[in-house]
């Protein structure tokens, strides 16, 4: 408890210092901005947006950008802390205002912090117009991409969406080198998964939540779906009209056993929202299920879990880690 208090104190002190430096920086920025029009044109889903380079007052709403931003030590004014990984530096930083979650967001905070740039995407995509109205003077970029059933190429959209947004962020925050490195690592990871997969093994993606197993439809939806397209995986079970939402269809252990997948890839949805130090309930649901003991994937220990914070993170770094894990497992 004492330790906790101390760390909190340090945090508060740190955030105070950050706020002071932020104020100082802002003045500099205003001065320099007066001289030259330092902006960059970014193409997002709505068209071309002129974004100031190195904006000082940033609001980020797209989960897929948080890890990149925090790696680059970009300061945020506000973020939806409720749908972010609990160990994110932004969640711990009390000077970052909390917009809440995407179901009942407190959008007024965005207007209140008077941002230069608002990064919209994924969960907050539907608030794009509302946000533009709230902050008419700020640049608003929307990094959403379509991985739903309506998309013709959800896999390609995912890969390009992650790469394009990373490159765009690099341009905005003058981190082009770092962005290019991330993108080339990402391409390498995709390549290594492609190399490691033998092309014949059957794969099933599942999403475990609250002890229930949901079936991730191959092709679209959260995390696993688009990967069937990216890596040309052979689905263990392919059914028309399966839903591709974030939860997947209710699937019985029997149906999984019947389709007998050679690989089971698991997204533990609850692990993302609970404390990282806790036990992984999905492991119990999949690995210890009596009905699944005879399937090939369990017998060969071919079960891969997505990184714990995948559901709330989904950044290019998450996918990088996931792809590297997959490549390692598939190569064995």
């Amino acid at each position: 408890m004492k330790k906790f208090k101390l760390s909190k104190l340090v945090l508060i002190a740190l955030s105070l210092m950050m706020m002071l430096t932020a104020c100082g920086n802002q003045n500099d920025a205003n001065n320099s901005n007066g001289g030259q029009g330092s902006t960059v044109d970014i193409t997002d889903v709505h068209g071309v947006v002129s974004v100031p380079i190195n904006p000082k007052r940033v609001v980020a709403l797209d989960n897929r950008t948080f890890e990149t931003l925090s790696d680059w030590k970009i300061e945020l004014k506000a973020a939806p802390k409720d749908v972010m990984p609990s160990d994110s530096t932004y969640v711990l930083d009390e000077s970052v205002q909390n917009i809440g979650n995407h179901r009942e967001p407190n959008l007024e905070i965005i207007a209140a912090v008077n941002p230069d740039l608002v990064i919209v995407g994924q969960r907050f995509a539907s608030y794009y117009d509302q946000i533009k109205e709230l902050v008419p003077n700020a640049a608003v970029v929307d990094f959403s991409f379509d991985v739903s059933k309506d998309a013709a190429t959800p896999g390609k959209n995912l890969v390009n969406g992650l790469k394009d947004s990373t490159i765009a962020l690099g341009k905005i925050f003058s981190k082009e080198l770092e962005a290019n490195k991330l993108v080339s690592d990402f391409d390498d990871a995709i390549e290594s998964v492609n190399k490691a997969y033998n092309g014949t093994d059957t794969v099933m993606g599942v999403i475990v939540s609250g002890g229930n197993i949901g079936y991730a439809a191959p092709g679209s939806g959260r995390v696993w779906g688009p990967m069937f397209e990216i890596f040309n995986w052979k689905p263990a079970l392919d059914v028309d009209n399966s839903t591709s939402d974030h939860q997947g269809d209710d699937i019985s252990v029997e149906a999984i056993a019947q389709s007998n997948p050679q690989w089971v890839f698991v997204l533990d949805r609850d692990a993302a929202t609970s404390d990282a130090s806790q036990a992984v309930p999905a492991q119990d649901v999949i690995n210890n299920a009596p009905a699944l003991q005879n399937i090939d994937a369990i017998k060969a220990n071919h079960v891969v879990y997505a990184p714990k914070d995948t559901y709330t993170n989904e950044s290019i770094q998450t996918y990088l880690e996931l792809f590297n894990n997959l490549a390692k497992a598939l190569a064995e």
């Binding site: 609250g210 002890g211 079970l237 269809d249 209710d250 699937i251 019985s252 149906a255 806790q278 009905a291």
Partner: protein
């Protein structure tokens, strides 16, 4: 006044037509119901995504998933409809059951609290939380009923649903605060999809409850006549109510921790039985249990086959069917007046 009394007496006679044949349990219709439930059980045993005949480990799978699933269907079906019956007796209201008194919402809140306090809680902990909270919740509902003395049959479930709504709003708030709404949502949809060996055995507790209710049946029936009459007949009204509530919360807690929310079963089954047979709890109990088993098994078979090889949650089918019967019951009650 006199006229009124007379019609009442006649009414009472009509609603208890089988009283004289009470000892005769194995009537033709009861045997028919038994056969139906057995057939449904067999269908349930042979419905599923796994090909138990063609695969080598088919027999193994049969005992890992099919038998547990059918057993848990039977147990929960009997339990939920029985708790409905007990609740209807002790509230003296036909439109009451755990889902319309807020008991289920309290159980949900209890589960949520367990998840908040303990990281990755065990089944025993989850059950304990659900049982404790549903007991507290049901007691609050009873105290409220006593204070307010609302005797109009429609007001009672409305009060219950309002209480339930308040509790579920509170749960939503807690869920939002601790970022657990989606896990709780997933849990709240009752489904038997993950029932397998080692994951359902706790449901056997229900069997003890069934036996207890059967032994206690006459006293519960007397309580169903109201506090004054029950006390006159030598029954300790408060003790019986307390035991009844404890029974209800035990069953609701166990079922909601293992399976989830199963709406309407406790409402429709006892009503159908008492429409056909009158209100003697002891002789109605086997009927209520059997009919509950039959209905939930039928609903589960539908939920398993509708979008094979996936499943729809059984609560969806049950809710659709149940709300239909619920409306019919309300309309029927109105016509009688």
């Amino acid at each position: 006044m006199f006229l009124n009394f007379k019609t009442k007496e006649r009414g009472a006679g009509v609603s208890q037509p089988l009283r004289l044949h009470r000892s005769k349990l194995w009537t033709k219709s009861f045997v028919f119901l038994c056969v139906c439930v057995i057939i449904l059980g067999l269908i349930s045993l042979f419905t599923g995504a796994y090909d138990i005949v063609g695969q080598d480990d088919g027999l193994q799978m049969f005992f890992i998933t099919r038998v547990p699933r059918t057993l848990s269907l039977m147990l929960t079906g009997a339990a939920m409809s029985m708790t409905g019956l007990v609740m209807q007796l002790i509230t003296q209201n036909r439109l009451v059951e755990p889902t319309s008194t807020g008991t289920i919402e309290w159980a949900g809140l209890g589960l949520l609290m367990v998840y908040v306090v303990f990281p990755a809680p065990s089944l025993v902990l989850r059950m304990g939380g659900a049982i404790l909270f549903s007991f507290v919740g049901t007691m609050i509902f009873f105290l409220f009923l006593r204070r307010v003395r609302l005797r109009s049959s429609l007001i009672v479930p409305i009060v219950g649903m309002m209480l339930g709504a308040v509790i579920s709003a509170f749960s939503t708030f807690i869920g939002l605060a601790f970022q657990m709404t989606q896990s709780i949502e997933g849990w709240f949809v009752g489904s038997f999809a993950n029932v397998q060996m080692g994951r359902y055995e706790t449901l056997w507790i229900i069997l003890a409850v069934v036996i207890f209710v059967y032994v206690y049946a006459d006293r519960l029936t007397l309580v169903g006549l109201g506090e004054d009459i029950a006390t006159n007949l030598g029954v300790n009204y408060n003790t019986v109510i307390l035991l009844g509530v404890a029974t209800i919360s035990l069953v609701v807690g166990v079922v909601s921790a293992v399976i989830g929310n199963l709406p309407f079963l406790g409402l429709i089954v006892p009503n159908i039985v008492s429409l056909a047979r009158g209100d003697d709890l002891r002789s109605n109990l086997p009927w209520v249990c059997l009919l509950g088993m039959g209905i939930i098994t039928a609903c589960d078979i539908i939920s398993r086959t509708l979008i094979m090889p996936f499943e729809v949650p059984v609560s969806l089918i049950l809710g659709t069917f149940g709300s239909f019967v619920f409306i019919v019951l309300i309309l029927k009650q109105r016509r009688n007046r």
